[in-house]
């Protein structure tokens, strides 16, 4: 990490309240970094979905397990890491929520939303044996807080970074 970069990390309990806490903290960093309102919404939602994924699927809502959240603010982007203590998962096994047969599913849209709202998204094996979600958003261009990365909420999700 260069001198121009900032790093922040926190360990969260496996509980519903951690979802709001993580979202609020990342929103503050995103606002301070100069992201506009729409991008802050997308970043906040993606962090939320990442932590929900760790809480529910990774740690299976088991309170003895932790969720590890880290933020890196580099000169050109904000990078978010969400690490759980579960068994890991393969992105290819996640059903497509836009498929006709899944439209009425009551779950399974979190990964899709993170892919749609962030510029880069991938899942790697974590150091704790669980899954580590790594996603990033390009910092706004000077004077144009909305003109960075994906300009539309309706943008199609990207494939794995």
């Amino acid at each position: 990490m260069s001198e121009d970069s900032k790093h922040l990390e926190m360990t969260l309990e496996t509980q519903v309240e951690s979802v709001n806490l993580a979202e609020e903290m990342c929103l503050r960093v995103a606002e301070a970094a100069g992201f506009g309102e729409d991008d802050c919404y997308r970043i906040g939602m993606s962090v939320r979905e990442g932590v929900i994924n760790a809480f529910h699927y990774g740690n299976e809502e088991r309170p003895e397990k932790k969720i590890h959240l880290a933020l890196d603010l580099t000169p050109d982007k904000m990078i978010i890491h969400v690490l759980d203590e579960g068994k890991g998962f393969d992105l290819k096994s996640v059903p497509d929520p836009l498929a006709e047969e899944n439209l009425l599913s009551t779950s399974g849209r979190g990964i899709f939303l993170m892919r749609a709202f962030m510029d880069e998204f991938k899942v790697v094996p974590g150091r704790t044996g669980g899954a580590e979600i790594i996603m990033s958003k390009k910092l706004p261009l000077p004077g144009n807080p909305g003109m960075n990365g994906k300009g539309s909420q309706g943008a199609a999700p990207k494939k794995e970074a």
């Binding site: 939320r48 929900i52 439209l103 009551t106 849209r109 309706g154």
Partner: protein, 114 residues
């Protein structure tokens, strides 16, 4: 902001006025409880007024879908009214616009149940 939900009757339809965030935890739970109580009360024509809902996450989307299928399975109908921009865009992104009937005018929405 915590979720709020109140309901009223209009032209044989139960209009549920919802405000706040429909998210994992209390928000989703309140929506689930509200729909369950309406169904127990044999009210199966339901219009969800989301004018004051400024935020929905994937859990909230799941809860809306669950409400839709729950009402439909009881022979009823659940429709949406007054989506905010963020909720509108989210339903479009997730293709749920092809599932839900969405209205921007309450009179038109109520008439659609006849």
């Amino acid at each position: 902001m915590a979720l709020r939900a109140t309901h009223r009757e209009a032209a044989g339809v139960t209009v549920v006025d919802i405000g706040g965030r429909i998210t994992l935890g209390e928000g989703s739970a309140l929506l689930r409880k509200t729909i369950r109580e309406l169904l127990e009360d044999q009210r199966t024509m339901i219009l969800l007024n989301l004018a004051d809902v400024d935020y929905i996450d994937s859990s909230g989307i799941g809860e809306l879908v669950s409400a839709y299928t729950g009402v439909k399975n009881r022979g009823g109908s659940l429709k949406l009214l007054h989506l905010t921009r963020k909720v509108h865009d989210l339903l479009q992104l997730t293709k749920l616009f092809t599932v839900f009937e969405v209205y921007s005018d309450e009179t038109t929405a109520l008439r659609s149940f006849q």
